[in-house]
């Protein structure tokens, strides 16, 4: 297992390094020196301060060649120094920390939701193939895959607003937004998080249901199922104990791929529903060309995704020795 993990890490760490270069490319992409814009901005606001400009110049090594600049930024990331947001004039770290936590929480909730929905639905659809239930879920899953997340969010928000005059944006009620963490705030979070969770989960649920159904259908026809049945095992016990276990296998391995789509999709939904996750912050940063913030956030989201993939590798390694052994 340790060897297996090391092998995976040997792939992911260079990948992360490569991604950091791409992210730095995003920072450098806008034409001109970002400090020039900043100086213009400060002059316009009448807050020009020669000392601060020089400090920033030294901080990012703006006079040095590009690889030095890259290294100054990348080595900062390693100790969680993400650079400064020029828009907010604060370190990116301070702006990102809370939102990052919320992004992860939302991601975990969505994955849990996806799995708790997809597994039973997939099993029922496969066992009762071509039944009314199967057709209903097939239809729903087509709709789920076909609807862009943000559209679903828009329609739900509109329905809630038009029919009940409630706004279902955000993750907290007004009185809790800036409040420190407490039981009340946590309960308030639970009251709000299910809407984006369902919205983000539909797509993944639909996809995973299809995969599980197809896998299970392949397994159900195999001789070992017949054998177990002939030995008198009760039908549900049989199904849950053998074919489902095997059918879940590709399920876990593709779960790694759902994380990138999840973090990607959550970005637009978060913007629509103004959720306190990193998505809207990234968009704002890109729109105002606040590039250190943008680059750092892209890198963080990538790192999160890789961690997610790693977790699904580990789970898969536990479930299937063949993968662990590198066969």
């Amino acid at each position: 297992m340790v060897q297996f993990l090391l092998r995976r890490l040997a792939i992911y760490i260079p990948m992360l390094a490569l991604m950091s270069i791409v992210s730095y490319g995003i920072i450098e992409a806008p034409p001109g020196d970002f400090l020039d814009d900043y100086v213009t901005l400060l002059r316009a606001r009448g807050e020009y301060d020669e000392g601060e400009v020089q400090r920033l110049q030294a901080r990012y090594g703006l006079d040095s060649p590009i690889y030095v600049r890259y290294w100054k930024w990348a080595s900062g990331i390693l100790v969680w120094d993400l650079g400064d947001s020029l828009e907010f004039r604060r370190p990116v770290r301070d702006l990102v920390n809370d939102r990052l936590a919320m992004t992860v929480v939302l991601g975990i909730f969505t994955v849990i939701f996806t799995w708790t929905m997809a597994i039973p639905i997939g099993i029922i659809s496969a066992v009762k193939q071509y039944s009314f239930i199967d057709y209903t879920f097939t239809f729903l899953s087509y709709l789920g895959v076909g609807t862009p997340n943000f559209l679903l969010a828009l329609v739900l928000m509109w329905t809630a607003f038009a029919a009940f005059n409630v706004s279902i944006t955000g993750l907290f009620s007004d009185q809790y937004i800036d409040a420190p963490w407490s039981i009340g705030k946590f309960i308030d979070l639970l009251k709000h998080i299910w809407v984006p969770m369902v919205i983000l989960g539909t797509d993944g649920t639909a996809r995973l249901t299809r995969i599980l159904r197809a896998n299970l259908l392949d397994e159900l026809g195999k001789p070992y199922v017949e054998t177990a049945r002939s030995k008198g095992l009760s039908e549900w016990k049989l199904i849950l104990k053998y074919p489902v276990r095997i059918a879940l296998n590709p399920f876990v391995s593709t779960a790694g791929w759902t994380l990138p789509t999840l973090f990607s999709g959550s970005l637009i939904v978060a913007q629509v529903m103004s959720l306190p996750t990193v998505g809207p912050l990234l968009l704002k940063a890109l729109q105002s060309q606040d590039m250190y913030m943008a680059g750092s956030i892209v890198l963080i989201i990538t790192a999160l995704t890789l961690v997610g993939t790693l977790i699904s590798d580990i789970v898969l390694g536990f479930m299937d020795p063949r993968i662990r052994m590198g066969a």
Binding site: I26, L151, W158, F161, L259, T309
Partner: protein, 377 residues
């Protein structure tokens, strides 16, 4: 198990199945998939719309009308008495006693017959022929005659006409994007599968890398880097190329997989032993074998391109005015209060949904039909 699938719908004897060409078998299999047929018809209609959007438009899609902001869809009456002669009622403006704003009310006294093949604003059909022919319209200059089948937006522009033009842009972005990713996919996947070795390792690592990064943040970042002073056409191509990068990895994997399987197959080995050149082996013997799979995968890749374009434009980072796409139209629906007062702004979303579903059904049918020799299906 490995018996040849005999189409049930085929009445002229099952014998013909043994002499039917592969494409005929594919067609028979495809025909049985009813949803796929429906999907194909819808896709066909959508592409027909994208060929002649101005002809179907009832108004100039860029024309603003300060008097008719957020006008709700005009109800169209199909029957006038007993005869099927479609007409719309006129409008009369009334001052709201409370808000003192000018509101429109339906004026049932007035009837305007909907005319077919009318002269309207001038445009170039297919970009070639200058004409002012339109399918439908009111033949009147009356300011109080309104014919907005899907209402108007915040600038008083006709949503139906805008939707027609948006269909052209959105559907063509999907098609063009998929062609670019098909090219990349076949080239890189083919290289990877045919030569294997270090080239295979390199390309597979690249694909793995691209698949493991969260796409949307990166694309948004890249889309934001598109210079703001670029011309409309340039932005269109830049966004299309960006979007095409989403799809090619799936296609490349598919192509590579097919190459790996076929490379060692008897007939390919036979061709090679017989002295056929690599190019001939690939295009004469291997490609016809998996082209149907490629078509199916390509069809299934289009929806994600359409969704990608819609998402980017919806965020205001993809296509922008004056280009009209479904995403650009949905951009207007970002404010939930605007949607609450003008729900018809969400109609472009319905088009996205329908087109995505249609492509998915069509692709599913094609995928099942792609291998007509398999037993299941």
């Amino acid at each position: 198990m490995a018996s040849v699938a005999v189409p049930k719908t085929q009445e002229d004897g099952t014998q013909s199945v043994y002499v039917a060409s592969q494409w005929k078998l594919v067609w028979w299999r495809f025909r049985r998939h009813r949803l796929a047929i429906i999907g194909t018809v819808i896709v066909g209609i959508l592409y027909l719309v994208s060929l002649f959007p101005e002809f179907l438009a009832t108004h100039d899609p860029h024309e603003r009308n300060a008097k008719k902001l957020y006008l709700s869809p005009t109800p169209v009456h199909i029957f006038d008495g007993w005869l099927p002669r479609p007409y719309v009622n006129g409008l009369k403006s009334e001052r709201n006693p409370e808000t003192l704003a000018l509101d429109f009310e339906v004026d049932y006294e007035k009837k305007y017959r909907i005319q077919y093949f009318v002269h309207g604003y001038e445009y170039k059909m297919l970009g070639l022929i200058t004409t002012d022919w339109h399918l439908m319209g009111l033949d009147t200059d009356d300011d109080l005659a309104a014919f907005h089948m899907l209402g108007t937006d915040r600038m008083g522009r006709d949503l139906w006409s805008r939707l027609m033009l948006a269909t052209r842009i959105s559907m063509s972005v999907g098609l063009l994007g998929v062609l670019i990713s098909l090219f990349l996919g076949i080239l890189l996947g083919g290289l990877s599968g045919y030569y294997s070795g270090w080239m295979d390792v390199l390309i597979q690592r690249l694909i793995e890398f691209l698949r493991s990064i969260p796409t949307i943040p990166l694309w948004i970042a890249l889309a934001a880097a598109v210079p703001r002073d670029w011309s409309v056409v340039k932005v269109y191509f830049a966004i299309t190329v960006l979007i095409s990068f989403i799809g090619w990895t799936t296609l490349a994997r598919e192509v590579r997989g097919r190459f790996l399987v076929l490379r060692e197959d008897d007939f390919v080995v036979a061709a090679r032993v017989y002295g056929s050149s690599p190019l001939r082996t690939i295009f004469r013997h291997m490609v016809p074998n998996f082209i149907s799979h490629i078509i199916a995968t390509t069809t299934l890749a289009i929806p994600s391109m359409i969704i990608a374009e819609t998402s980017l434009s919806f965020l205001g980072l993809g296509l922008k005015q004056p280009v009209i796409s479904w995403g650009v139209l949905l951009f207007e629906a970002q404010q939930i209060r605007a949607v609450a007062s003008a729900p018809w702004l969400l109609v472009p979303g319905l088009f996205v949904l329908i087109s995505v579903l249609a492509f998915n059904f069509m692709g599913d049918g094609l995928r099942d039909a792609a291998d007509p020799y398999s037993a299941h299906g």
